[in-house]
Amino acid sequence: MGLILRLKRRFGFIFKWFFKKDKMRIGIYGPPNAGKTTLANRILRDWTGDIMGSASEVPHETRRSRLREGVRIEVDGKSLDLDIIDTPGLATKIDFHEFLKYGLDETEAKRRAKEATEGVIEAIKWLDDLDGILLVMDSADDPFTQVNVTVVGNIEARNLPLLIVANKIDLPAASPARIKSAFPQHPVVPISALKGLNIDSLYKSLADRFG
């Protein structure tokens, strides 16, 4: 990797301290079906009245990154201006056969798989243009996935602020404590983006972390 690029990644955060932006560009990352778009929709609905896009139980529903600029969040008298990027689910493998289980025909499944691979590439490229990350994990799933490890490692290498969102706490198998113990050096907020559980705590954490 080029020395200049490496220095930019290592020391970029120092410049950010001194030249703090009016607006933070926050990426919503995570594996497929963690609830990234549901969370983006929840935030937008609460603060702007509209939504980011459609969510689905079929993995890789979001296959293009979506940017929503100028989202103002106000918590305890503090306001925070965000540009929010909802990214496609990150994965190390995409097999079109998985989509057949959800009733898609082979042509449609292959098209979805191809678009999903492009979406993953796009999501990774966005990492270089962000000021902070919301990493969304399904509280009922194993947090030690390669995707989570790679995202956390890249955020740490770039010294970007990270907030881990332990989503889907409404599920019986949910265990936000497992996520906390997996990534003890980062703040974890347990929520249900779908049901709106503990969302005020998320907004407070957003203001603390990115404000």
């Binding site: 993953v120 390669q146 740490e156 010294n159």
Partner: protein
């Protein structure tokens, strides 16, 4: 004889290789059905680049991606993080249709190597 070839790459060899050289080697080996063990693993940036390259190589027929088994990077001191080159940890990478993660903890990973159907 049926089996899966396992290639183990030493830390010294990895240190001599440029990032792209390492990633190209991994992709080529894994696409050929082999499993590769890296003594010192990859940096986080290399891991992200490997995912990117994997996505480009997926052909939806023979190659559907990779499975990666590794531990989280150790967090070094503040100065170490600023000036040191991030070092990866022992890493096993294989084709997604051959290598399957069964269970993963912070300090223990169980995976299964499958033979071809």
């Amino acid at each position: 004889m049926e089996g899966v070839q396992l290639n183990m790459v030493s830390r010294e060899r990895l240190d001599r290789m440029a990032s792209m050289e390492k990633l190209r080697m991994i992709i080529d080996e894994v696409k050929s059905g082999r499993i590769i063990v890296l003594e010192s693993g990859l940096s986080p940036e290399e891991e992200a680049k490997l995912i990117e390259m994997t996505m480009v190589e997926i052909d939806h027929e023979k190659f559907v991606g990779i499975e990666v088994e590794t531990y989280r990077q150790k967090t070094g001191s503040f100065l170490g993080r600023l000036f040191g080159k991030p070092k990866g940890r022992l890493t096993v990478i294989g084709p997604a249709n051959r290598l399957e993660t069964l269970h993963r903890q912070s300090d223990f990973i169980t995976a299964m190597v499958k033979f071809e159907d």
